[in-house]
Amino acid sequence: MNDLAIQAQITCPHCWHRFPPAETLWASAHPRLYGDARLGSDVQRRFLPTRFDAGGNAIDSQGSFCSEVCCPKCHLVIPRTMFELKCIFYSILGSPGSGKSHMLATTTWQMRQAMGQRFKLSISDADPDSNRQLNEHEEKLFFNEHPDQLATIPKTEKEGELYQPVSFGDETIWYPRPFVFVVQPLANHPQIEKRDEISRSICLYDNAGEHFLPGGESSISPATQHLTISRGLLFLFDPTQHARFREACKADSQDPQIQGTGRSHRQDQILHEAANRIRTHAGLAQQQKYSKPLIIVITKMDAWAPTLWPEWKDIQDPIKDSRQQLAGLDTTLIEDISGRMREIMAKLAPEFVNAAEGFADRVTYIPVSALGRGPEEDPNSGMLGVRPSEVKPIWAEVPLLYMLSQTSTGLIPSLVRRSRE
């Protein structure tokens, strides 16, 4: 039997509690053993096992073999990969309606396409049940049975399927449901012999935008505390929610989000709110800068770029093949474009640039179009949707790939341009 190597400390992706493997609880399997003090009467009881089978699975008090492992604090099920691989947490944040859910769905879809072919990495769901809602969104956009009909992704709810309630005495805490992926080299990867070292679990959260509004976090909904442990932040800046951007684009754009009555959020305030929470929970001094990467994802590029950045149509693919038959990320190209984006942002949203660069040491600006085109209004319901057959993401995967290249060794290499001698 092969030895199973496990991490010395595990971080629960639900409540972010860190614990040694010896404290892991297991979910009982026998039908008589249901009812858990934290999770209610509808789930199997959690227990600290004393008996195991030959495969290392716990045996509950009724003799059933158990397979699900759980956090000792919140009792929620943890994917096994969190025990075997180092885990990287990333946070995606932004105002309501900034496009987080669409961005996440297109990012993961595009990465599933790019990782295997270009980077020779496999990306898979660590827990398909936990990632179910994200997978449903991907199916709506890319696997839809009716690709010519308008499809919509529901607005993310603060109390919906993306949150899990846990009872601590009289109090119920709602934890955000994490999306966990496993990234590991394929058999033909040049560094396959270092598979154990470079494989990672990646954990993402799709918080409802309301959580990031000032006062949006309560004691029973610490939904954004993952900001503190994240290896990097992806902030989605929505130009259609900024009055100056809308004004600048109105003459040339037919996008209903630009032409409509306009809904604005002070996105710099949301970034300040996130910064305050990070400082509070991480114990950062006020003058201390955030040292991890902050990527400002400028969403809905299809709506504003025709006016403000006409070169967008010719934007190059930053994923390029190297001589080693393995793709790399052209970080020089990304950083060049980041500089250009910063100029546009500094001109139209200087308050936001100040907020970002006043908070973080390393700020990168990456434009994205999750759908490749603007939404259409359904004449019957008035709902905004998109036809799956017309979805063509532009740079949707780039922010996360760039983040991986900057924060993780061995997965996403950067391309180094060498001059010919």
Partner: protein, 369 residues
Amino acid sequence: MSFELVYTSARRGLKEGASGFCTVAATDGIPRPLHEKLESLSGYSHTEAATGAEPPVNHSHLTIRIQRNFYHVVSRIGDAGIDYTGRTNKIAHHLALSEAEAAGFPQGPAALFADYGFWHTDWDGEPEAIPPGRIPSSYVEPVEGFGTWAEVFGDAGWAGVLGHAVANGLKPVSIIVPNPDDTMKMLHEALLLVSPRDRWKVCFSTYFSRLAPGTQCHWRFVLDGTTEARKLRARSLGLLVDPRGSTGEPPDGNPFVEAARDDEPNRVHSVARSTSRRGDAASGRADRGGNMSRTPRSGHRRPTQSRHPSSPGARRPSIRDLEYVEEYDDKDAHQGRPRRRKPRKNAKILVVIALLMLAIVVLGFFAMQ
């Protein structure tokens, strides 16, 4: 005193700065813990399983305890078209009643839903504080027999399964229904089998998706085609009524089943045992009788295998033209603060033992003196 709360997606909420999904109306003076709890009960799942039919509405009655106060929460949660951003919306309207107030409605909580003018089904106004004392009228919808159960499931006796579960210690029952339009009628018909004095003890949900901890739901109407229905068919932890998804019939000879088939619900009101016995929150089987304490630890601990995490500054790969950034080692989750090493437990024990031995030696020395 009763409290109301209306929760939906709006440009402006009741709380300063709130927008999107937020409280738009609440009774003046509502306690904050109750406010937060009611917001947390406002979840709604938009589903395509009801394509072609009206979106399902969750009419529910739950009981909650907030600090020392016990409330009956009667809620209406449903689809609310689109919000101001052009996306899906829902509206949740909650009414929290004390025990004394609930006693003023002897027909039970389901009767409160008949006051259609009371319940908000959409919201396009400004946020507002609701004056205290607003209560719906109670009206029992006239119900004749168990015709809806017979029409939906082919046998009115299935309603008896619910009545029997109430009498048998308020065991939870899940009912997978094909159509959301019939659930309210099915609920009213099944309640005929429950003695009026026990109706406030029955917690129900006409569009159930999951149970919030700290609450109970005895009658759970689940829409066929949803994830919850699939999970129940795979494994139901309580009683399951699913005539369309499985073969089976209501148990013959059961007085509640027979009373439903014979359309004589009053026959079983005296059969109902006292439901004051409050079973274990996890109890769905009479023979469980267990407690919820954790399995006591024995001396055995599972041997762990661990390896040192890869050290920072991994060797650069020997691939030409590609380079990897050095990984940030964030074992310390508290950035900016030096990590305080936690003394190992074993070291602490060794120190204590050493001190004890030293004390013994010293005392022995003085004793010999």
